[in-house]
């Protein structure tokens, strides 16, 4: 009998059986749902396949970072949506981090007013549902902006209106050379810093690395303007009349109000959580550490940079990774205010026009999964870098 091998005293078998059973059960559930879907779709005359991705999308999208119009394919529309999702997430993460750090540090401030303002900010924005905040920024705050003909002008080169924020467009010549110079500057900074570290460790000499790095970053690209034919001109937005009372801006770059509202709401909301992480991180470093650092003669800045922050970051990074993931996933609320992210464009319009719900929703879910996993891999790498290196 085959079961003779599966003796209860045999530890290997005991460990193996539950696992095999679990996997089989899981597989059968998946197979059950897949075949069930297949049968039902067959009965209702719905086909399954991904061929539609090559078909012409025939709908336009407000805002796209790559060339797109309705004559492109559904696959291309997917890419437009994906890039828009990444864009708003990146902007959101950037501002949420800055605001979060500022608010987090402010909460620990000795100044009563600053600390209280920061506390109120956290309590208010953390406790209102995000979708309401998005609606607030879009329908209440941004709606208060003027029509283009009365747009708020910044020195006549940039205009804030209800139809968007119009900013000058950069027109580069020899942009490649400029880009190379920036890369070169970063490589130089890397070598300068490792040289400075060596100097400090071997001879105890302190070099002003911050100033040297900054000036390298500014000077090297600047040289390309002078000697390598790089130049930059601007195309300014100009008011255009479409009819006796309808105006718009032409030229320049238009940052659509949907993007502004969404980025604002996402970063204001997520910043509250990051602020709490930062506060926890700083409080988590014991007072003795700072006192010890001070007693060996480090300056206040050095204490923060060399003693407090490296330890605080270890506490801050893991929960902040979660907040970055949340922000990215929350960006799917974009659909409510017509920001063309992947949910609105692909899981919305494309789904409707093709009717391929199962295919499109699976692709969209996989996309979010991939995005989230990429962020987590990056943050884990950063976390490891910051972790205590035992020697």
């Amino acid at each position: 009998m085959i079961f003779k091998k599966f003796n209860i005293e045999n530890k290997k078998a005991r460990d193996l059986i539950p696992q095999v059973v679990t996997i089989l059960a899981l597989l059968s559930v998946i197979i059950y749902f897949a075949t069930n879907a297949q049968i039902n779709m067959g009965n209702r005359g719905i086909s399954f396949g991904f061929g539609f991705l090559n078909q012409e999308a025939s709908f336009d999208i407000t805002f796209s970072m790559i060339e797109y119009d309705g004559s492109h394919s559904y696959g291309r529309a997917f890419l437009v949506g994906l890039l828009n999702t990444i864009l708003v997430s990146a902007i959101g993460i950037f501002f949420a981090t800055i605001a979060g750090v500022i608010v987090g540090v402010s909460r620990l401030s000795d100044n009563y007013l600053i600390a209280k303002v920061a506390e109120w900010y956290v309590e208010i924005f953390r406790n209102i549902p995000l979708i309401l905040q998005i609606f607030f920024w879009y329908f209440a705050a941004l709606r208060a902006l003027p029509l283009p003909e009365n747009g708020i002008s910044f020195n006549d080169i940039s205009f804030l209106t209800i139809k968007g924020w119009y900013v000058p467009k950069f027109i580069w010549t020899n942009f490649n050379i400029f880009l190379l110079s920036i890369i070169a500057a970063f490589i130089a900074i890397y070598f300068i810093n490792s040289y400075a570290t060596k100097q400090r460790e071997q001879f105890g000499k302190q070099l002003p690395t911050a100033i040297i790095s900054l000036s390298t970053l500014i000077l090297v690209p600047l040289i390309t303007f002078l000697f390598f034919g790089v130049s930059l001109t601007f195309e300014y937005p100009v008011l255009k009349q479409l009819s006796p009372t309808v105006f718009t801006f032409e030229g320049g770059v238009s940052i659509i109000p949907e993007l502004i509202a969404l980025a604002l709401a996402l970063s204001m909301y997520t910043a509250t959580f990051i602020a709490e992480n930062v506060r926890a991180g700083i409080l988590g470093v014991s007072k003795g550490q700072k006192e010890a650092a001070a007693s060996i003669g480090l300056t206040k800045n050095q204490i923060l940079k060399l003693v407090v922050m490296p330890q605080a970051l270890r506490i801050i990074i893991p929960p902040t990774t979660n907040q970055y993931l949340n922000l990215t996933k929350n960006s799917s609320l974009a659909a409510a205010i017509a920001y063309p992210d992947i949910v609105l464009v692909f899981a919305g319009t494309a789904l409707m026009q093709t009717g391929r719900a199962i295919e499109i929703i699976s692709i969209t879910m996989l996309t979010y999964l991939t995005l989230s996993i990429s962020i987590s891999i990056f943050m884990n790498w950063y976390n490891k870098k910051m972790a205590i290196k035992e020697k």
């Binding site: 059960a25 779709m41 025939s58 009819s243 009372t245 017509a338 409707m352 093709t354 719900a357």
Partner: protein
């Protein structure tokens, strides 16, 4: 030890059962599963819009009304004998077809445009047209725009996502070679809000929809609908593909309403016309022929529709004309009166 063996055997046995159990599911038999289920449940599961005055709109106490709603009511009157036995599910444009194909609803009466790809590709069947519409544009009266020919490059247009409107808009602006900014919202209310606030210069959707939504604006008199119609939008009820009996019931419930108007049968005179001299009228009110038997209903099914819901003209007058949405019936007039409403004879 014995118990582990038993569990493994039970596990495998249940896997096998699950795998075998697959075969049975799904529709496709000759009898109408949808009809049986509806009778068993005691109500018709009907998908409607999230609020479009004249078509399907809920009042403060949650009572739905409109000409789309009347299609649901007609089906309920025919099948269950009571027009009020309808369960309404408000759906966005995006959700509607999935709700129907997945069986969450059995009739979709949600100002849905009949197109080839929808009919043929995604498991749906359109049963008829209850409103002939076309896409138009709304602008502010003071804009100085009096025709679509006044549109210029850079105009921004708001609409609903996931509709034929979105596609027609592109076809239109491309054919005119106008660069435009499309802004597509998921809900009609958000489109109205955005347009009302000045985010976009024009609002485009079906003309009936424009007329209905105009009533929701903060100041309806400041807006007007341009005269041009840029597309054909035959709106009608939809059912799932594969249940031909149910499909026929919904189709002929709608046709009955239109035919009743054609023969002058309405909710107040229907029962008194049982002894009419006109056999067509007698068939409509169920005093001649056995028409209901063809789809498993009794002979009074059409009489109930007319008595409880009314004919198409009554429905149109009550929901569309008297509410000031579109007083003029235009193409939605009977073929005998210069319109294009024409249904096959009920015999």
């Amino acid at each position: 030890m014995k118990s582990i063996k038993t569990w493994i055997l039970v596990g495998f046995a249940s896997l096998l059962l699950v795998a075998c159990g697959q075969g049975g599911g799904g529709a496709g038999s000759k009898k109408s599963k949808t009809l049986d289920n509806t009778k068993k449940a005691g109500f018709v599961k009907c998908g409607v819009s999230q609020g479009l005055p004249g078509f399907s709109n809920a009042d403060a106490s949650g009572n739905w009304s409109g000409i789309d709603v009347d299609v649901c009511r007609a089906v309920a009157a025919a099948v269950l004998g009571d027009a009020d036995k309808v369960k309404y599910t408000p759906l966005s444009a995006k959700e509607r077809f999935t709700a129907l194909t997945s069986g969450e609803i059995d009739v979709l009466a949600r100002n849905t445009t009949w197109t080839l790809s929808r009919d043929a590709d995604i498991g749906l069947t359109f049963v008829g047209v209850n409103f002939y519409d076309g896409q138009g544009f709304m602008v502010r009266k003071n804009s100085g725009i009096n025709s679509v020919n006044d549109f210029k490059d850079g105009i921004s247009a708001c609409t609903n996502t996931g509709t034929t409107t979105e596609l027609n808009m592109r076809d239109f602006f491309n054919s005119k070679n106008i660069k435009y900014e499309p802004i597509a919202f998921e809900k009609a209310d958000e489109v109205v809000q955005a347009y009302d606030a000045g985010r976009c210069d024009t609002y485009t959707t079906d003309k009936s929809g424009l007329a209905a939504q105009r009533t929701k604006m903060s100041n309806p008199d400041e807006h007007k609908v341009l005269p041009e119609t840029i597309s054909k939008e035959p709106l009608g009820p939809v059912v799932r593909q594969g249940d031909s009996v149910w499909e026929d019931i919904v189709r002929w419930s709608l046709n009955t309403m239109i035919e009743a108007e054609e023969y002058g049968v309405n909710s107040s005179n229907a029962s008194s016309l049982k002894d009419s001299d006109n056999p067509a009228i007698k068939r409509l009110v169920g005093s001649e022929g056995e028409l209901g038997a063809a789809f498993g209903l009794d002979n009074d099914w059409s009489l109930r529709i007319i008595e409880q819901v009314g004919n198409y003209g009554e429905s149109y007058k009550k929901h569309i004309a008297d509410t000031g949405i579109l007083p003029n019936r235009g193409p939605n007039e009977l073929w005998t009166k210069g319109g294009i409403l024409y249904v096959p004879p009920a015999r």
